[in-house]
């Protein structure tokens, strides 16, 4: 999975039938050390399954595993937000 931050919301009236009622968010991938957004190129359009809000740090799952998150079985989705992060504890190389 990948750490990211909510960067925006997608509003799409015309979309796949199964995406109706799903919240679509733009998640920008962040560098776990600095917790800064990497680059505008590093982002995902994700279905939110845990009620994440703007600028919250989240965990996204990609690929077919995304369809194991709640309510997404058999959906045309390959990326989902599955957790809202409280704290990140990253050990420095020397500490290991």
């Amino acid at each position: 999975m990948i750490l990211g931050r909510i960067a925006g919301t997608i509003v799409a009236t015309r979309k796949d039938e199964m995406l109706r009622g799903k919240k679509l968010l733009i998640v920008q991938l962040i560098d776990p050390e600095t917790q800064e957004a990497k680059s505008p190129a590093a982002y995902q359009v994700c279905v939110d399954t845990v009620g994440a809000g703007a600028r919250e740090t989240v965990i996204t799952v990609s690929g077919s595993s995304a369809r194991f998150s709640s309510g997404l079985a058999d959906h045309p989705v390959d990326s989902a937000i599955v957790a809202i992060v409280d704290t990140i504890d990253l050990h420095k190389e020397e500490e290991l």
Partner: protein, 101 residues
């Protein structure tokens, strides 16, 4: 599978119900000689790995299978921990061929 080193932990209270009770770890990919190469990413732990340990993990849909049939939304899960001082491709400290005992 691929090799990785556990470099940290992530705490999350609000998460997918099937992730409850599972440890969320930060890992960095290792190359075949055991050098850290990749950037930290998130993996679920299914074998009790701790920070500093070398592990291997399954990616993609199989990341959910340690808990099969429970639908765990994971695309990277640690499924094994390397024995310490016995890195598969390196002369182990006992001087014997670096074969996995």
């Amino acid at each position: 599978m691929k090799l990785a080193r556990v470099v940290g932990t992530v705490v999350s209270t609000v998460k997918d119900e099937n992730m409850q009770g599972k440890k969320i770890l930060l890992v960095r990919a290792l190359d075949a000689s055991g050098q850290v190469t990749g950037e930290p990413f998130v993996a679920l732990d299914s074998v009790g790995a701790g920070v500093g340990e070398d592990v291997f993990y399954a990616r993609g849909k199989e990341g959910s299978f340690p808990w099969h049939p429970q639908p765990v939304p994971s695309d990277a899960s640690i499924v094994g921990i390397l024995d310490p001082f016995n890195f598969p491709t390196r002369e182990s400290h006992t001087g014997t061929e670096g074969t996995q005992k």
